[in-house]
C-alpha cells in the first residue's frame, strides 16, 4: 500500500518509487558531474519529460559521512556513498521500468553504471531484479491532486491558458464571429478535454 501516493481521497494516480544504490568514491565524483550536466543543460531532460508518465524524477548523492542522525544516535560507518533515485510515475511498475530501459537507457546507464553490481539497462530482466533488490517502499507519500496524471495537469493548464486568452479576446465579438472563434478554440483544445478523476475501475 505504501508504494502509492495517498491522501484523504485515497490512492492517487502517481506511484512512488525509491531506489538506493551504493557507489564508490570515484563513481560519486562522476555521477555528481553527470547530474550537474543534466541540471545545467535542460535539453538533456527532454526525453524524460516527453515520456509524460513521470511527474517527478530526482537523483541525489549522499556521501557516506553525511547521513543524518537522530539526537544521540551514533554515526554509521559506511563503506560506500549512496545514490538515491526518487521518482513518482503513473501506471504499473513493470512497464515503467521497461519504458525507462527502452527509451532512457543512455542516461540510466551513465548514472547507474557507477553503482555496485549495476547490470545495465538492457536487457531489462536483470535491471528489474536489481531494482527489486534495491527498492525501498515509501512509508507515506502525499499527492495534492491524486486524480491527476502528468497529462491531466498539462492539459488542464493549457485549457486554462487558452480559455483566459479567449475570454480576453472575445469580449467585443459579434455573435457569428464569436461562434467562429469558439470553434477555433475548441479545435485547438479538442484533445485536452478528457474526463478527470481517480483511476477508473
Amino acid at each position: 500500500m505504501a508504494d502509492r501516493a495517498r491522501n484523504k481521497d485515497g490512492l492517487g494516480k502517481a506511484v512512488t518509487f525509491n531506489v538506493i544504490t551504493p557507489m564508490n568514491r570515484f563513481g560519486t565524483c562522476v555521477v555528481r558531474l553527470l547530474l550537474w550536466i543534466f541540471d545545467r543543460w535542460k535539453r538533456t531532460q527532454n526525453t524524460a519529460k516527453a515520456l509524460a508518465f513521470l511527474p517527478f524524477v530526482h537523483w541525489v548523492v549522499i556521501k557516506r559521512d553525511r547521513f543524518p542522525q537522530l539526537e544521540g544516535q551514533p554515526a554509521e560507518k559506511l563503506n560506500y556513498d549512496y545514490l538515491f533515485f526518487l521518482s513518482t510515475f503513473n501506471g504499473p511498475w513493470g512497464p515503467y521500468i521497461e519504458a525507462f530501459a527502452d527509451v532512457l537507457y543512455a542516461p540510466l546507464d551513465a548514472v547507474w553504471f557507477w553503482s555496485i553490481r549495476y547490470p545495465m539497462a538492457r536487457p531489462v530482466g536483470p535491471l528489474k531484479t536489481y531494482i527489486k533488490r534495491n527498492q525501498v517502499e515509501s512509508d507515506h507519500s502525499y499527492s495534492a491532486y491524486p486524480g491527476a496524471s502528468v497529462r491531466d495537469v498539462r492539459a488542464g493548464l493549457e485549457v486554462r491558458r487558452e480559455l483566459e486568452q479567449f475570454a480576453r479576446d472575445s469580449r467585443d465579438l459579434a455573435p457569428d464571429k464569436f461562434a467562429t472563434e469558439f470553434d477555433r478554440l475548441l479545435m485547438s483544445l479538442q484533445n485536452k478535454l478528457g474526463s478527470f478523476g481517480p483511476i477508473p475501475k
Binding site: K13, A50, L51, F53, N90, G91, P92, G94, P95, E98, A99, A101, D102, V103, R122, P123, V124, G125, P126, S149, R151, D152, A155, D183, L186, M187, Q190, N191, K192, L193, G194, S195, F196, G197, P198, I199, P200, K201
Partner: protein, 464 residues
Amino acid sequence: MFDFSNIQGNILRGYGSFPHARFLYLAIHDERAARTLLQQLMDTGSVTPGQWSEKPDTTLNLALTFDGLRALGLPEESLATFPAEFREGMKVRADELGDVGKSSPRYWDEPWRTGRVHLLVMIYGKTEAALEAGCRNFRRLLPAGLEELGPEQSAESLRIEGETARREHFGFVDGVSNPDVDGVPREAGAARSQDIGNPDHSGKFRKIPLGEFILGYPGEGGDLAPMPLPNLLAHNSTYMVFRKLEQNVPLFRDYISKQAKSFARTIPGGLPDDKSAEEFLAAKMMGRWRDGSSLINHPHASAKDISNAFAYADDPAGARCPLGAHVRRTNPRDALGFGGKTMSRHRLIRRGITYGKYLPPGDRDEERRGLIFIAFNSGFDQFEFVQQLWINFGDEFEQGNDGDPIAGSREGSQMMIPGDEATGRRPFICFDIPRFVETKGGDYFFVPSLAALRLLASGRVHAS
C-alpha cells in the same frame, strides 16, 4: 528455429478456415484419470499442432487453468513458478480488468460464476457436422474422474445473409491486425498477408520477436519472459486469455443512431447522400470503417481495403482517426512516439470467434450474442496492460480517464472526435457512452506445448 509441430494450433496461425467451434469445460476430480485422458489424446495424435501435412476436418486443443494444473498433480514447487496473475485467475482480477457492475463475476455465466474450469477443450470444425463428430469422439474418451461443466459454449463465424463473414456483431471486419511474428511464415490469403509488426526507428514496421507470444524465446529487448519450471513444461508453451464478451447490438445501434444526428451537424454542408452519419460515426469510434479500411488511408469513405500499412504519427491530432478510437488504442503503432518503443511489449495474438446469430439492421430480439475473445501472450501482464491502461483508461491517448468507446468498462464515458481543419468538420463529443460489451466469464489458461502435454500426462514433473 522453433518447431511448429511442438506448438499447439491456433496460436501462431489462426483457425480462420474452421468456422465452427465448441468449447468444453472440464473439472478434474481424479488426477490419474486426467493423465490417462491426456496420454490417450497424445497417443492418438488428437491434439492439433501448429502445422499439418493434411488439413484435418476438426482440430482439438487443450488449455489448463492454475487450478487445473494443480488438479493434474503438478508439484507445488512447479506451481509456485507460474505468474501471479495466472495463479489468481481472471475472477480474482476482475477489478483490475474493469469487470465491474454487470460485468462482475457474480453476473457471469456458468460455469465461470460458481466454479473454476480446470481443463478447456477447444474443438473447431470445417463444417458443423465435422464439429459434431469431433465433439462426439472426444466425449467418448472422457473417463470417470473428469466432469464436464455445463453448458458447453458454441461459437461460429458470423453468417450474414447465408454467407460466412469475418465480422463481429457490431458489423466490423474482425481480426485484421494480428502481429507479424518473426520466424512465422505468412499464410496464403489476403487476411494473413495483412499482418504487421511493430514500428521501428525509420517509421517502417518490423516483425515481432516470437518470445512476446511463446515461452522460451527472446522477446522485445532480447530477454526471455519469466518461465515456469521445469523448462520442458515451459518451452514452446504459452498463456491464453479466454473471455466471453457479450455485445449489446441494439444498444450500440441506438446510440450511434441518436448521436449521428448531432454529429452530422458538425460536417460543413452535411454529408453527401451516399454516406450515412451513422457509418461515419461508428467508424470514428472503431478507427476503421465497417469493411476494415482504415481511417488513416481512407478518412472520408470506406474502400474495402484492409491494408495494415499505415501509421498514426502523421495524424497527431486525430483528424482522420480519433486518438481514442478502439483500434488506435489497442494497437497504437507509432502514435505514442519514441519509435513505438513504449508500445512494443504490449502486443497480443487475437483469435476471436463470434457466438449467437447475426442481428439484421432494424431488427431487435432477446438473443445473446458476442465474441469469444482469445488472446495469446507470454505473460498476462501484456493483456492486463492493454485492458487496464489502453482500453479502460485513456491517459496515454490524451483522453484523461475516458475509456475505449467500443470495449471500455465505464458506463457514461465520453469520446472526443477531433475536427478536421482541412474539411472544416468541427470537433464532436460523444457523451454518455453506455457499456456496449459486457464480460460474461473467462479465465487465464496455460497452453502447454505438445511435449509439455506428454510430460503432464506422464505425471513425472519435477520443478528442477
